[in-house]
C-alpha cells in the first residue's frame, strides 16, 4: 500500500512538471493517468521499500547519488575525450575486442544499472550478461590487456564500488 501511494506521488509530480501549469483539468487528467500507471507498474519503481533501515535507507541512497553524479560526469567526459582522440588521429590506431568480465553484484537492479553505466562510458559497450556465471561480455574499443583481473580493474571496478554502497 505504501509502495503504491509513493509511486502515485512520483508519477503525479512528473506529470505536473511536464504539464507546466496547475489548473483543474490538468489535475483531473493527471490523477487518472497516475492511477493507471500505479496499477500496472507499482512493483517496479520502489523495490526496497521493506528495507530493515526503512526511511533512513532512502535518505542515505539520495546522499550517495548526489555525491556520485559529479564523479560520473568526470569519468564520462574523460572517456569521451579518449574516443575523440581515436577519431581525430591521422590513422585510427586501436585494437577492438570483446572481453569477459565477472561481477560481484547480486542485486538485479544494481546489475542493470552497472550495465547501463558501462555502455554510457564511451569506449566500452555491454553486449550480453551471463546469468549463470554473473559475467558481462563487453566490446572494448582499445584492448590494453588480456588478463581478466586487469580488464575488470580498468573497466568496472570503480562503478562497482559505488553501486555496492548504494544497494547495500
Amino acid at each position: 500500500m505504501k509502495q503504491k501511494f509513493l509511486t502515485f506521488i512520483i508519477a503525479f509530480a512528473i506529470w505536473i512538471v511536464f504539464a507546466g501549469k496547475i489548473t483543474s483539468d490538468v489535475l483531473i487528467i493527471g490523477v487518472g493517468a497516475g492511477l493507471i500507471t500505479t496499477v500496472f507498474f507499482h512493483n517496479m519503481l520502489l523495490r526496497s521499500i521493506n528495507h530493515p533501515k526503512g526511511w533512513f535507507n532512502y535518505f542515505r541512497v539520495l546522499l550517495v547519488v548526489i555525491v556520485f553524479i559529479p564523479v560520473f560526469f568526470y569519468e564520462v567526459l574523460v572517456a569521451a575525450l579518449k574516443v575523440s582522440r581515436h577519431v581525430i588521429e591521422k590513422k585510427p590506431s586501436f585494437c577492438p575486442g570483446i572481453v569477459k568480465v565477472k561481477t560481484k553484484l547480486t542485486n538485479i537492479t544494481a546489475i542493470t544499472i552497472l550495465a547501463n553505466l558501462i555502455t554510457l562510458t564511451p569506449g566500452t559497450l555491454t553486449l550480453d550478461f551471463d546469468i549463470a556465471e554473473r559475467a558481462y561480455y563487453i566490446h572494448w574499443i582499445d584492448v590494453r590487456t588480456r588478463e581478466e583481473v586487469e580488464a575488470r580493474k580498468e573497466i568496472i571496478e570503480q562503478f562497482e564500488k559505488w553501486l555496492e554502497v548504494i544497494f547495500r
Partner: protein
C-alpha cells in the same frame, strides 16, 4: 546575466564540437561496433550538453525542468538502444566485427570464430 551567457555558450560549443566528432567518427571507423561507439556514445554526451545549454538559456522554472527531464531520458534510453542494436547484430550475424584481437563472446554463444 553575463555569467549565465558564458555557461550557455560553453555548453553549446562543447556539445557542437562533440557532435562534429561523432559524425567524423561515423565515417572513418572500420566496422559496425566501433561505429556504434562513435555514433551513440559520444552523441549521448553532446545531446546532454546541448539540452543543458538550452535549459540554461531558457531559464524558466517549469520549462528548464522539462528540458532537464528530457536529458535524463537521453541518459536512460540511449544505452539500451545501443546495447540492443549491438547484441542483435552479433547474434543474428548481420555484421561480425572486422578487427578483433580477442573475442570471448563467440565462445559463449558456442561457435568458432
Amino acid at each position: 546575466m553575463v555569467i549565465r551567457e558564458i555557461f550557455f555558450y560553453f555548453f553549446m560549443i562543447t556539445g557542437g564540437i562533440f557532435a562534429a566528432i561523432t559524425v567524423i567518427g561515423l565515417i572513418r571507423f572500420p566496422d559496425v561496433y566501433t561505429r556504434i561507439h562513435a555514433a551513440a556514445v559520444v552523441l549521448t554526451i553532446s545531446a546532454f550538453f546541448l539540452t543543458i545549454g538550452i535549459a540554461i538559456y531558457v531559464w524558466d522554472f517549469y520549462l528548464s525542468l522539462k528540458i532537464l527531464l528530457i536529458s535524463l531520458f537521453f541518459l536512460i534510453s540511449n544505452p539500451m538502444a545501443t546495447h540492443s542494436i549491438a547484441r542483435s547484430s552479433y547474434r543474428k550475424k548481420i555484421a561480425l566485427p572486422a578487427i578483433r584481437t580477442i573475442d570471448a563472446y563467440s565462445d559463449f554463444i558456442g561457435e568458432d570464430q
